[in-house]
């Protein structure tokens, strides 16, 4: 296949890999699974890349493919570990940045998010990434109103978990 296309793609993904890592961290709970999902997303991105015309930003396009892979296409590998031994590849919170209460709160929050359903996770993810409702609605394939309603519900759910 076209060498230049390869190079272009790998370069783009290298620069934007944080998005994929964040999705992986939300949908898996150990490092093996994280790498596994990262690989599958990469393959899916690469397969779809020839059709990417650049009418949207590379990163915007990535959100969609990454989430679709995590929610729908990804088949967990057999060697997956069932326990939550994910000692925060990602959600590492620096103690000196926050006071104890805040740190505690964040930990609880990340734990709460892990317990959400696949679709709810996607909503929270897009919210945390500061996406607007139009983009959220388009990524998930629901109306903007519904995205708003659902998002509020998820937010309330998280708040309830935090403040029982």
């Amino acid at each position: 296949m076209n060498k230049e296309l390869e190079h272009q793609f790998v370069k783009e993904l290298e620069n934007n890999q944080n998005i994929v890592h964040k999705v992986c961290s939300l949908y898996t709970n150990n490092r093996d699974a994280h790498n596994d999902l990262f690989q599958e997303i990469t393959i899916q991105l690469w397969k779809a890349y020839p059709k990417f015309r650049g009418d949207s930003k590379f990163s915007t396009w990535m959100y969609r493919v990454a989430l679709n892979t995590a929610i729908t296409l990804y088949r967990k590998s057999k060697k997956r570990v069932r326990t939550q031994d994910y000692d925060a590849v990602i959600f590492k919170i620096k103690a000196d940045e926050y006071d104890d209460t805040q740190e505690q709160q964040l930990k609880l929050m990340y734990n709460a998010i892990r317990q959400l359903g696949d679709i709810e996770k996607a909503l929270v993810f897009l919210y945390l990434e500061d996406k607007n409702y139009t983009e959220i609605a388009e990524t998930l394939g629901i109306s903007e109103v519904n995205a708003r309603v659902k998002m509020n519900r998820v937010k309330n759910k998280l708040r309830t978990i935090l403040n029982p």
Binding site: K22, F52, R64, N68, T72, R75, G117
Partner: protein, 213 residues
């Protein structure tokens, strides 16, 4: 106190430095790895199902050439079933291919799920058609055998039995139960595949659909 969600958002957006960092070469190697996506699995399962039924239909189930009164009738029935069968395979194969081709990872999540479910549904219809046809073929063959070429031993047993009607009834029940048994077996077999592969997808799709109401 700051809203927890705002705090979370703030933290989320500066987590960059804690994220794993893959090199250009790492990523380059990945693009040549094989995908193990759900769609690929479904594709393989569907192809296997198509082949399975084609092989079943080609296998000679009854190798004894039946001669006598019913031979012609049987041959014609057989031919008709075969032609119907292959026409239907072509139809389903085409539908399956069309559905499969339309699946695209760049669709919205809802659209993607809908297309996968539709692809799978086509093949399930094909499977049901085959199970039905299989049952029908069994019934036809049984009737043919009983009417045109009844086994002597069975007929003797029946004629020496106390009640011929009861004996026939038992034969009937026996056949009905065996057909039902095969049907159940197939049903379980396909439910299993369907369940394993599509449970998560169906759940997510339903959740998304619930939003639309």
């Amino acid at each position: 106190m700051m809203d927890e969600l705002e705090l979370l958002k703030k933290d989320w957006q500066k987590q960059g430095e804690h994220l794993p960092k893959l090199s250009y070469d790492d990523i380059y190697k990945m693009i040549w790895k094989k995908s193990s996506s759900l769609v690929k699995w479904i594709f393989y399962v569907c192809i296997a199902e198509f082949l399975f039924w084609i092989i079943i239909s080609v296998l000679p189930i009854n190798s004894n050439e039946i001669t006598g009164r019913g031979a012609n009738f049987m041959k014609i029935t057989d031919w008709i079933l075969q032609i119907v069968f292959f026409l239907v395979i072509i139809y389903f194969g085409y539908q399956f291919y069309q559905n499969y081709r339309k699946i695209s990872v760049t669709d919205s999540a809802g659209e993607l799920m809908k297309k996968i479910i539709r692809t799978r549904k086509t093949v399930m219809q094909y499977v049901w058609f085959n199970v039905g046809l299989f049952a029908l073929t069994m019934v036809v063959v049984l009737l043919e055998v009983l009417v045109f070429d009844p086994p002597k031993e069975l007929m003797e047993r029946i004629s020496t039995a106390d009640s011929a009607l009861l004996a026939w009834l038992l034969v009937g029940i026996f056949f009905a139960v065996s057909i039902a048994f095969f049907g159940l077996l197939f049903w379980l077999f396909y439910r299993l595949i369907y369940g394993i592969f599509l449970k998560r997808l169906n759940d997510n799709y339903r959740e998304l659909k619930r939003l639309e109401v």
